[in-house]
């Protein structure tokens, strides 16, 4: 890759309107989905969904050469009433949320041996979060996790990824009618970790799904959160926050499939980048199918480039097959914190380091408030502070 990648962004976007049911112009709509890795060719890097990903740094997760060596610890702590199981790959419940849609997700699905299944029974309202600690000890692992929240149950699940691992995984969220699930997935990996995962949510009738994805660590992190609606009235809020340092590749690809009438989705991802060859990728795909009347969707991505040498690719895509919707929109912007801004703040008496902190904290503050979880809020702000300290010194 060239050394002098311009700081800033390449921002592309597309809004397509009209009936295109026969042959969707957009490849992702017809992307194959399969549980079997053999159904996907090995990507070479020019495919639409792989073109931003450094395949050579995936340690073979994408081409079948990465053999599982274990070394991944998964500890689930759950409040009373929650059923926590470790099941074999043959368990009939697995795979219900949706099929893998790319080679690595299918590889994970074809390769995992045991899955963690967390079930929150119907009507249960948890007062404490379920905590899933995923800790890597340096090996190659294929994971599978399913979280099911029964009808009218309410739960918060926090998944923490730490340590060093080469991990390909699928996470399924299955929400019953009227269920409320908030999932926080924190990627706080050591510097060398590789993590590729598909998060698939099946949102039941009138259910509310809230996802918070926080990515700080790793060498390569590529997450693919997907939302599918199982019935009308479903609501999905997807928030993301990333801080990409020099050499890191952090990619978040979202897909919201409005295949059901009267559902809502709201996406807001924000990232800061600093250092040479820091690369953040954000893909926001929203499809409003012809049947999905009354859809209300909005997606936003904001990036703040703090230093030269970082790169952002931000691509929102909105495909609309019906005009009978409440609203649909997207926004993507990448701003630079540059010397002129620094001069302006310093000319008002604000010292250099504080000026940087002010800008970054301010940039994330609104999103952190929107997430609306007090204890997470503190943790996030502390972590952002830590990232900044590392860069300032």
């Amino acid at each position: 890759m060239a050394d002098n990648i311009p700081a800033g962004s390449t921002t592309e976007g597309a809004i397509q309107v009209g009936q295109q049911a026969q042959q969707p112009a957009d490849a992702r709509v017809s992307a194959p989905a399969s549980y079997d890795v053999a159904d996907f060719p090995v990507p070479h890097g020019r495919e639409e969904d792989w073109r931003f990903t450094p395949l050579e740094r995936l340690r073979g997760l994408h081409d079948g050469t990465a053999e599982a060596t274990g070394g991944l610890r998964v500890d689930v702590t759950a409040p009373e009433g929650v059923i926590v199981e470790t099941v074999d790959r043959g368990d009939a419940r697995l795979g219900r949320a949706g099929k893998p849609v790319d080679r690595v997700a299918a590889q994970a699905y074809s390769s995992f041996e045991k899955a963690s299944v967390v079930t929150v029974p119907k009507d249960a309202v948890l007062t404490e979060p379920v905590r899933i600690a995923v800790h890597g000890e340096g090996g190659v692992a294929y994971g599978h996790t399913q979280i099911e929240v029964g009808a009218f149950a309410e739960a918060v699940v926090v998944i923490d990824h730490t340590g060093d691992a080469t991990l390909a995984a699928n996470v399924e969220y299955v929400l019953g009618d009227g269920a409320k699930l908030t999932v926080v997935s924190v990627q706080d990996w050591d510097r060398d970790a590789v993590h590729v995962a598909q998060h698939t949510a099946l949102v039941g009738r009138d259910a509310t799904f809230k996802s918070v994805v926080v990515t700080f660590g790793g060498d390569v992190v590529r997450l693919h959160p997907r939302v599918i609606y199982g019935g009308p009235g479903g609501e999905a809020e997807l928030y993301g926050l990333y801080f990409t340092d020099n050499g890191q590749h952090q990619e978040h690809r979202l897909f919201i499939d409005h295949d059901t009438p009267h559902c809502r989705s709201n996406v807001a991802y924000k990232g800061a980048l600093q250092g040479k060859d820091a690369h953040a990728v954000w893909i926001g795909d929203v499809l409003i199918r012809a049947v999905a009347e009354g859809t209300d969707t909005y997606e936003l991505n904001r990036n703040l480039v703090l230093t030269d040498g970082a790169r952002v690719d931000s691509v929102p895509n909105l495909e609309i097959e019906t005009g009978e919707i409440v609203g649909a929109g997207h926004a993507s912007a990448t701003g630079r914190f540059d010397d002129e801004q620094l001069f302006y703040l310093m000319a008002r008496g604000i010292p250099h380091d504080e000026a940087r902190r002010l800008v970054v904290r301010g940039f994330f503050a609104e999103l952190v408030q929107q997430i609306g979880m007090a204890d997470l809020e503190e943790r996030l702000l502390a972590k952002i502070e830590q990232e900044l300290e590392a860069s300032v010194s």
Binding site: L304, G335, F337, D339, E340, Q341, F343, Y344, L345, M346, A347, R348, G349, I350, P351, H352, E354, L358, V359, V360, R361, G362, F363, F364, A365
Partner: protein, 255 residues
């Protein structure tokens, strides 16, 4: 009493074919309570003087001294100058994404005053200052200068001037791009600060229009990187009638 003394100031910028000297020996003394208008044609170096005093990294001081009450301003970093009491209202204020006006103002006031202003009095202070400048309260929640109109940017600069109460205020073409109403509002803001008698004002402008609202004690004509003529307010009238032609054509008189 605060005094800014500029002596034989020489400043260069990096150009394609090496450094280019823009300021060629500026001498000027501005005392607290005084208002000096610096007028001159485009390209005469007026803005370079403003940004050099504030410490913009683009400009290299190659000679001369600048002191504030005897302290060496040129040895200070940009933020140190601001905390020492030098304020530059910029011609082109910079957008700062992610930072709200209210957060910015408070952080800045805390830095300049050396302690965080008491919240209750601070809120009142900001509210009043914004009312004076006819700034909508919703402004406080917007990001600094982001999407501001030209007039809003200038009012925001003067809002900072009113809140930070500097010893020396440098207003760089604050009048440019303002309609008459906005010019009046902004000028009133500057005058409120001047009336305290606590600020020395360096008013840099191309046009005499703003001098109808802000009466200078001294007028200096700036040409080719230095002050070429100084006088009282009457000098502005002469410039109004005759323009800068006499100064840019090597001293030749007439149009």
């Amino acid at each position: 009493m605060a005094t800014l003394e500029i002596h034989d100031l020489h400043v260069s910028v990096e150009a394609e074919n090496g450094p280019r000297e823009i300021l060629r020996g500026v001498d000027l003394t501005v005392k607290q309570g005084e208002t000096h208008a610096i007028m001159g044609p485009n390209g005469s170096g007026k803005s370079t003087l403003a940004y050099s005093l504030a410490g913009h990294p683009k400009y290299t001081v190659t000679g001369g001294t600048v002191t504030l009450d005897g302290e060496d301003v040129l040895a200070m970093s940009v933020d140190e100058r601001a905390r020492a009491g030098v304020f530059l209202a910029m011609q082109y204020p910079v957008e700062v994404p992610g930072v709200s006006v209210s957060n910015f103002l408070r952080t800045s006031a805390t830095a300049v005053r050396g302690e965080a202003p008491k919240l209750r009095t601070w809120v009142k202070e900001v509210k009043e200052a914004m009312e004076h400048l006819q700034i909508d309260p919703s402004f406080a929640e917007r990001n600094v200068n982001e999407g501001f109109s030209g007039g809003e940017k200038k009012r925001h600069e003067i809002l900072q001037l009113e809140l930070l109460k500097p010893a020396i205020a440098i207003l760089d073409e604050t009048d440019s791009g303002l309609d008459v109403d906005a010019l009046r509002v902004v000028s009133e803001g500057v005058n409120r600060v001047r009336e305290t008698g606590q600020v020395g004002t360096l008013l840099i402008t191309h046009y005499t229009r703003i001098l109808r609202y802000i009466k200078p004690d001294y007028v200096h004509v700036f040409a080719a990187g230095r002050i070429v003529e100084s006088g009282g307010a009457e000098l502005a009238d002469k410039l109004e009638n005759e323009g800068y032609a006499a100064y840019v054509k090597g001293g030749a008189s007439g149009e």
